[in-house]
Amino acid sequence: MSRRSTIALLLAAVLGTACGPRFDDDAGGLGSATTVPGPGATVPTPSTIAGPGPAPGVTDTEIKIGYLLPLTGAAPIPSRFDKGVNAYWDYVNERGGIDGRQVKVVIEDTESQAEVGKDKAKKLIESDKVFAVVVLDRLENQEAIGRYLNDRQIPNLAIQAPANLPADQIWSFGVTIDHAVQGRLAAQYFVHELDATKVAIVYENTPTLDPGREAFEAEADALGADVVYSKAIDGQGNDFSSEALALSQSGAEVVWLYMAPTPAAKLANQADAAGFHPVWFANSISWAFNLVFAVGPESLVGARAFSPWLPLADARAETFLEAFRGPGGAEAADDDLGIVGWGIGQILAEAIANAGPELGQNSLRDALQHLQFEPDIWAPIAFDDGVRQGANQVAVLKEEDGHWVLEHDFAGEFPE
């Protein structure tokens, strides 16, 4: 074999390796023993899943639920997030549980990494023997963990709903708005509610956000608004002064910061220092928490956010607040992180109750697939055959005196 042929073969091997499946695509990763439907395979539908199915983590007296949360790592949530989770299940357990079963929660830390999250998912399934899993992490991590849980046929609720949830990922359910639907709604809201004619979007450079951004730009264009600035940033960066300058020169009236809270607040602060004050906008599950106003108390005045939950000031959050404060009622209640744990708990509890007392993973999946539910403080859930991204409505929040307040109740359209 000539040297040229050898080099060509070597290059082909290297390029072939580079183009091969990523670890995220490894269907049988981490020792999964289940069979995954390949392309063209018959995907089980609710009608083909018979009986309640296996029920690990379920006894006559107890149901064990796993939570995967980024408590540490690059994008940690404050540890008191789990207080909202426990507040809800304590509330349920004090009232007799679900069908007489007390709910026990096992919380694991994903360390904000997909691989760690999958390892912890394996632990929850194999060691803790949980019945179902709730996942909250960055969208790309959550997608990888969701795929793993799907391969293990574990019913799982994802707090974020990716725009491209695969059709065969039948065990995963998103409880917030689909990113592509959200992109379209954001454009409608900017144009029809805020009367903006020049809009902008700055987004973290991750492919998972592309469907949302593309839908936003297409809808804005269709509605006659100019997308005067659209740029990806490195979410781990610090110096956003050039973006702040370009935004101010663009004349944008509303700017969607499609990113995590820290870069969003830093960018807004740098723009504020440069004298630029547009209406900043947060998408659902990004920086619509009161905490963000501690970082940008001046720059984020008047900001708007789409939210799958209601603000604490809304009367419908009263039950949550009472449970969250505890018996004495003395603890600081101004914590909208806890409301997330509460809302998701409500959705899962409703599905478990709908699955009936003869509980199994198949019956829970079936109950989730047909769940039509209006939680106290969360956007209405409307799953149906083939629809597992089921909360395509958002509340609109507005900053007032350093807190989010309700500007617009849950809506799925913002017509002219």
């Binding site: 490195d234 781990q236 610090n238 110096d239 300058l245 830093k266 220092a273 004298g275």
Partner: protein, 294 residues
């Protein structure tokens, strides 16, 4: 592009303030410190807390400008304590020991900041005012302007101190050979203390300018910035104050241009790493470093 170069220069100037401290410590003790960023950050976090919630026991809220002074004073104090309790014991040990010790100090301080002030980004209002200047199509905020002015003043002061004062000559003598310097009556321990105190104060100044310039400060941020300062010092020459400044300005510009043009996470860091590697391969002593200093 010009706007990115100008804002990059201002960020580089703030890194350079940290780098001058790194060079001072290297000159005085031959130790490479990666703790410089977090030493200053700790003082600035404390100042921000006292401005926001008041000084414990007094209830008095310090004014914004005082956060800068607190950062400088606490930075100097932390530098003094670390020198006396940790670093002085390592002066005669292999340089790697001191490097690892400073890494441990940086981690300790960052974790202490997380414990005391929380993991969230801290709002950092400018201690030097809210004004800005327009320059060649971009606007430079007050902390960025002050960073540029400060680094020039600091560099000139350090140069004059080292070359025109008796104690400065003592520092240089200690750099050459601490044993001989001690025999000749140079107060070597005072030299060690001075370099750490001065570097700590400079770190406080840098934190109080970088935090507001970048829209907030999070524990570990300043460690990342101090690694840039160290890279700048390597590029410019570890024993050269002016070299470290030139190196940091180059890094600031490189980051500004790459970060503004390429949105891939880590691209600016990769560009900086490539520049450091190129320097180490082509000119190991740095742009302005003396022969054998690297």
């Amino acid at each position: 592009m010009i706007a990115r170069i100008i804002t990059g220069l201002s960020a580089g100037a703030a890194y350079a303030i940290v780098a001058v401290g790194v060079v001072l410590i290297f000159k005085g003790t031959k130790a490479l410190s990666v703790a410089q960023g977090e030493i200053g950050a700790f003082g600035f976090f404390l100042g921000l807390r006292w401005a926001d919630r008041g000084v414990p026991g007094l209830g008095w809220h310090v004014p914004r400008f005082a956060t800068l002074l607190i950062a400088i004073v606490i930075g100097a104090l932390v530098g003094a304590v670390l020198e006396r309790t940790v670093m002085r014991r390592l002066v005669t040990r292999p340089p790697l020991d001191a490097l690892i010790a400073t890494l441990g100090i940086a981690l300790f301080l960052a974790l202490l900041e997380k414990e005391m002030f929380g993991t969230a980004t801290q709002f950092a209002p400018s201690p030097v005012g809210e004004w800005k200047i327009e320059l060649l199509g971009t606007s430079l905020t007050a902390p960025r302007v002050i960073a540029i002015v400060s680094v020039l003043i600091v560099a000139a002061a350090v140069w004059l101190f080292l070359n025109r004062t008796k104690f400065g000559l003592a520092v240089l003598a200690t750099t050459g050979d601490p044993v001989v310097a001690r025999v000749l009556g140079v107060p070597v321990n005072r030299v060690y203390r001075f370099t750490w105190v001065a570097a700590g104060a400079l770190s406080g100044l840098a934190a109080a300018l970088l935090g507001p310039a970048f829209g907030g400060l999070t524990p570990f941020d300043m460690t990342r910035f101090s690694l840039r300062a160290l890279a700048g010092a390597v590029i410019g020459g570890l024993d050269s104050v002016w070299g470290a400044i030139v190196g940091c300005l180059a890094i600031g510009v490189l980051e500004g241009v790459v970060g503004g043009s390429v949105s891939t996470a880590g691209a600016p860091e990769l560009a900086v790493l490539a520049l450091v590697l190129a320097t180490l391969l082509l000119r190991p002593r740095g742009l302005l470093g003396a022969e054998g200093a690297a």
